[in-house]
């Protein structure tokens, strides 16, 4: 921080005290301002700069005559107060060769506080009150009528009042044509106040934006530290926001000091996170800087550590420069070089302002953060934009890959479906072939031989042929999709065979009930079931001499039972050996069981199918 030219307590007064010029931006701004001023001065050709004055501590409303005035050189700072005295007087004498014709002005770059300005005994203007230390930065310009001046000796008298904590200050005094001095005053006002107000608003916006971003992306800690730094910076500049607004509250010294210290700490932490470093112990020590600065501020630097504080501050502002330098060394990319280039502004302005600048130079340290913040913001936003673009690219890539995979899968699926269909067709063909071979084919051949040998009656041939047709119809029925429901299968069996039962005078007692769905009802298995039951009913027709046959379904011990019972002569004599073996084979293929219970009252045949 800025050491002594304004005495040590002075540094603690305002925001960060004048320190140095540094960054290219601040330098350019300064040069521009000076150029404007220089041009104005040259144009007017006139204007006196008064640096020699006399001072007396005196509370009287008129400059005391004949008292012990002490010579001073401006800029001057008055801290001490004699008991009962609340102010003092400065007087500056100057010589004019002739009385000017045009409007004149008294320009006071630094004039604090509660001052009154007199030219040759006439009051020309007052300055602001002593309540607000930042008013010390307001440059004053008072117009002076040419009639107040005279050829030869003239005198400017300045009365000031102050408090112990806000010492009086007076910078060099200018008197000259108003047209020449007014632009200078305007330029200084812009640089010392308006510019800082704009900066405060800018950094507040930037900081809030970054913190909102950080809240959405907690992992990006650089966003958070940058937000903290920018908002702290706003706090540090906060009192400038309301300067010139009478009665507006300031946030107060401690908050400004804390803001100023926080900017430094948060910027160092930003630099470390940017570098990818995380050193908890070192960071704890770093945080100690904030209470230290606060203490220094409250005690106005008047403690044992006061003299070293400026150097501690220099160390802290050097830290981030070092970190950025290290990053630039390692990464060697444009981003890190630009960051390094923008980072030492504070250090340079500090040093420059402390050792090389004119004593009443405007404090441009606050401006030194602007390039750093702009670069940090640009960096984070561009990184954000990059990652957004990257994620969009990845998203598009992913979508493309998903759609190509999808197409591939669809192709595979279609191929598989085709294979499955082909396999199913082959299987079905084999099934139908084997059924025709075992069933209708053989029957037709044996019927043919009956006819050829003339052994059979027409009725027998007709019956054999009808059996063939029934076989064929059952085979066709078995092709129908079943939806795993057994009852329609039995229904179609009834539909096909009931006519023949009726013809033989056998009554059919249909007692089927809902049964659980059977997943095993493939066309092949349906045909097995139909064939078993067809055989059973055919046996009843041909051999049992029954008058009644019952068909029933029920659930029995985890199986579906299909029961065919007749009131005929019993099974022992009716069976055609081969037929029964076939039925058992088919039942086994189905994973089921065939039960035959003959009795005197008839035969009961049951087909048990597992519920799967």
């Amino acid at each position: 921080m800025r050491p002594p030219k304004w005495a040590c307590s002075e540094r603690a007064r305002g925001p960060r005290e004048p320190t140095a010029a540094g960054t290219a931006f601040a330098r350019v701004l300064l040069l521009l301002t000076l150029a404007c001023v220089g041009a104005a001065m040259a144009q007017a050709g006139q204007g006196l700069r008064l640096e020699r004055a006399e001072f007396i501590a005196d509370n009287s409303p008129q400059p005391p005559e004949g008292a012990a005035w002490q010579p001073v050189v401006l800029p001057d700072l008055q801290t001490a107060l004699e008991p009962g005295v609340f102010g003092g007087w400065y007087r500056l004498d100057f010589h004019l060769d002739r009385r000017p014709d045009d409007l004149q002005a008294l320009y006071l770059p630094t004039f604090a506080y509660a001052g009154e300005a007199y030219v040759n005994g006439h009051l020309v203007g007052r300055s602001a009150t002593a309540d607000r230390p930042e008013f010390a930065r307001v440059p004053h310009l008072f117009t002076v009528s040419p009639s107040l001046l005279q050829e030869g000796h003239n005198r400017v008298a300045l009365r000031m009042q102050w408090k112990a904590t806000f010492p009086a200050r007076l910078g060099p005094v200018y008197i000259g044509p108003q047209s020449a001095l007014a632009p200078r005053q305007k330029a200084r006002e812009w640089l010392a106040i308006t510019g800082l107000q704009l900066l405060a608003v800018f950094s507040a916006t930037l900081g809030l934006f970054m913190l909102v971003l950080w809240a959405k992306r907690r992992d990006e800690t650089t966003l958070g530290w940058f937000g903290v730094a920018a908002l702290s910076y706003t706090a540090y500049l906060s009192d400038f926001l309301f300067i010139g607004t009478p009665g507006a509250p300031g946030l107060g010294m401690p908050i400004q000091a804390a803001g100023s210290a926080l900017v430094d700490v948060a910027t160092v932490l930003f630099a470390m996170r940017y570098a990818g470093w995380r050193w908890p112990r070192a960071e704890m020590v770093l945080w100690g800087y904030v209470p230290l600065r606060l203490h220094d501020d409250i005690s106005s630097g008047l403690w044992w550590g006061g003299p070293v504080m400026p150097y501690i501050s220099l160390v802290v502002v050097s830290l981030w420069v070092l970190v950025f330098a290290s990053v630039a060394w390692r990464r060697r990319n444009i981003e890190s070089f630009v960051l390094l280039l923008a980072s030492p502004g504070c250090l340079i302005t500090d040093v420059w302002l402390s050792h090389f600048a004119a004593p009443d130079a405007v404090n441009i340290v606050p401006y030194s953060f602007l390039p750093l913040f702009v670069v940090m913001g640009w960096l984070l936003v561009s990184r954000f934009a990059r990652s957004l673009a990257e994620s969009e690219r990845l998203g598009a890539q992913l979508e493309e890959r998903v759609s190509s995979k999808h197409a591939e899968l669809e192709q595979n699926y279609a191929r598989m479906e085709q294979l499955t269909r082909q396999a199913a067709v082959v299987q079905e063909r084999q099934r139908i072939m084997s059924d025709m071979h075992d069933g209708i084919g053989g029957q037709l051949i044996s019927t043919l031989s009956l006819v050829e040998h003339g052994e059979a009656s027409m009725d027998r041939v007709a019956a054999a042929l009808r059996e063939c047709i029934d076989d064929l119809r059952l085979a066709i029925d078995s092709l129908e999709p079943t939806d795993d429901d057994l009852l329609p299968v039995l229904g179609s069996l009834r539909y096909r065979l009931e006519g023949r039962l009726k013809q033989q005078g056998i009554a059919l007692d249909w007692q089927v009930q809902e049964v659980p769905r059977l997943a095993c009802l493939t066309p092949q298995n349906v045909l097995h079931i139909l064939r078993i039951l067809q055989e059973a009913l055919t046996n009843v027709l041909k051999h049992a001499q029954a008058t009644r046959v019952g068909v029933a379904t029920m659930v029995d011990e985890g199986c579906v039972r299909i029961r065919v019972s007749d009131n005929g002569r019993g099974f022992a004599e009716q069976g055609r050996g081969r037929g029964l073996a076939n039925m058992r084979d088919r039942a086994r293929t189905l994973g089921g069981k065939l039960e035959i219970v003959p009795s005197a009252a008839g035969t009961t045949l049951s087909l048990l199918l597992p519920i799967c």
Binding site: R466, I469, L472, R473, I476, D477, E480, L487, P488, L490, G491, S492, L493, R494, Y495, E498, G499, Q503, W510, V512
Partner: protein
């Protein structure tokens, strides 16, 4: 007296059917023809009470004949003659307007019983056909007709009532009309009437479907 006309290109079966009709005192054979053109001529002259037709005719499909007859002679009951009673043929015939079907190898008694049943207002139906009908009415075309054409009346007309679905489901499980009547405690006559109604609905339903298809193809 019920007049019957037979359209069958196989002379053996034509003779057989004519014989069965002639043997029944309550039936009169109006005409027996072997191709579509003769059938059309005969129908233009005089329509029978019952038309029996084969599907595969030498000069066209029996389906066309069924459709024309159903449209021009609504008082005529059409029965289709089929070898296997398989669903494709039967459903296509019913959609065209047939109210029943008869197996080619039916015994004379069965044959006459079917015609009697048909004239009495009933339609024969097998379990498999019943199940196909159930599926057909639940299937998407009805919904498509509903939404795309915005004719709710057509959709309702084509949809089955709860009792009709019940009857179809029982037929699909193999119960005959008498048993179903007992189960539902109604008369067998009611059941046959239900089935005939279902057949008519299928014809309407299929017209809706045709309209839907035609709309899709931009014909309407």
């Amino acid at each position: 007296m019920t007049t019957v006309m037979v359209v069958e290109d196989d002379p053996v079966f034509l003779t057989r059917f004519c014989g069965i009709v002639a043997s029944a005192p309550e039936l009169t054979l109006l005409a027996a023809v072997g191709d579509l053109a003769s059938a059309r001529r005969q129908l233009a002259r005089q329509a029978p009470d019952v038309l029996l037709t084969d599907l595969g005719l030498p000069d066209g499909s029996g389906i066309e004949l069924i459709r024309e007859t159903a449209a021009q002679r609504p008082e005529t009951d059409v029965m289709v003659i089929t070898v296997f009673g398989d669903e494709d043929h039967v459903l296509a015939s019913i959609e065209a307007g047939a109210t029943g079907y008869i197996l080619k190898d039916s015994l004379p008694d069965e044959f006459l019983a079917l015609i009697t049943q048909l004239r009495a207002g009933g339609s024969p139906i097998s379990p498999l056909i019943a199940r196909q009908l159930l599926k057909r009415f639940k299937g998407p075309p009805a919904a498509a007709v509903h939404s795309s054409l915005g004719t709710p009346e057509g959709g309702l007309e084509a949809g089955l009532s709860a009792r009709e679905s019940e009857v179809l489901a029982l037929i699909a499980k193999g119960f005959n009309f008498a048993e179903i009547a007992r189960l539902l405690t109604v008369s067998p006559h009611t059941i046959t009437a239900h089935v005939k109604k279902i057949y008519q609905k299928l014809a309407v339903h299929s017209r809706g479907e045709a309209v839907y298809e035609a709309t899709k193809m931009g014909l309407l």
